[in-house]
Symmetry: C2
Subunit: 132 residues, 2 copies
DNA sequence: AATAAAACAGTAACGATTACTGATTTTGAT
DNA sequence: ATCAAAATCAGTAATCGTTACTGTTTTATT
């Protein structure tokens, strides 16, 4: 049996991610976990983020900023990127359109479609307020 | 007036992109344009790809491989990424779902949604054939 | 043709991520 | 609880895509 040893550091990384809804980058994870484990290495953060996402415990996301973002919420959901402040928000919309989108699109496609992800962009609620 | 001088190199880059439907990376553009302009610099390729996309003449895309891909087709359309071979294909599906998606999702969202892009993934037609 | 601005080639620098190394921690069995 | 093997760690060096810099060449205009 492949024995995966769950270190304190890995747990701290996962725990931190679960407290955040804004999909932090590896750098942000590092800076925050370091408050609990001052000696944690940036390499450890990267390795564990990769490990956790390979195991399916977290999601790795790619935004336009070119950085990898991480999300402890592994349910399928969409994301919104604010073009003003760069913040990322979850978009939870339930619709049949989305549920059956893969099948519908697959009917006109020779390959096999197994999933999709939709990225929205615009101005976030916060920025809408400030920029009157 | 901002006088933009259209160099042979920039034209070659745009022309090459227009012949391709598979959204090449900067590296691929470089290797191909170099066959016509053996002394072209990789920096020139990057600078012009950025310039062209800033001018709206081409599209810059971000895929899961972490690389930037470029597309001379600036119409709004979706993309498909093959998880097997990594190739990228266009997905042209016209539907009211997609047309009015922004408005529908915006109705349950405090900010302003100005657009979205959907990435599909799965097995491409080619890989479906070979991996019987 | 002469000129100034823009673009170039070549190279160095940058930043995010990954790989390496020897020390430490975790796990499961004694 | 103790111990050894395997996994993980901290720290650092290396990698790789991309951007910035510098001095030269091309472009468009007079």
């Amino acid at each position: 049996m492949a024995s995966i040893k769950y270190s304190r550091q890995r747990k701290a990384i996962k725990d931190f991610l679960m407290t955040r809804k804004d999909h932090p980058t590896a750098e942000t994870v590092y800076l925050n976990v370091r408050e609990t484990y001052p000696h944690i290495s940036l390499g450890t953060v990267y390795r564990n983020l990769t490990l956790l996402s390979d195991m399916g415990e977290i999601q790795r996301l790619h935004f336009k900023d070119g950085l990898d973002h991480f999300d402890a919420d592994i349910r399928s959901h969409s994301h919104f990127l604010c073009t003003e402040c760069g913040s990322v928000l979850d978009i939870d919309y339930q619709s049949d359109d989305d549920l059956y989108l893969d099948e519908r699109v697959n009917s006109g496609f020779d390959g096999r479609i197994t999933g999709h992800i939709t990225y929205f962009q615009g101005i976030c609620p916060e920025c809408c307020k400030t920029s009157v």
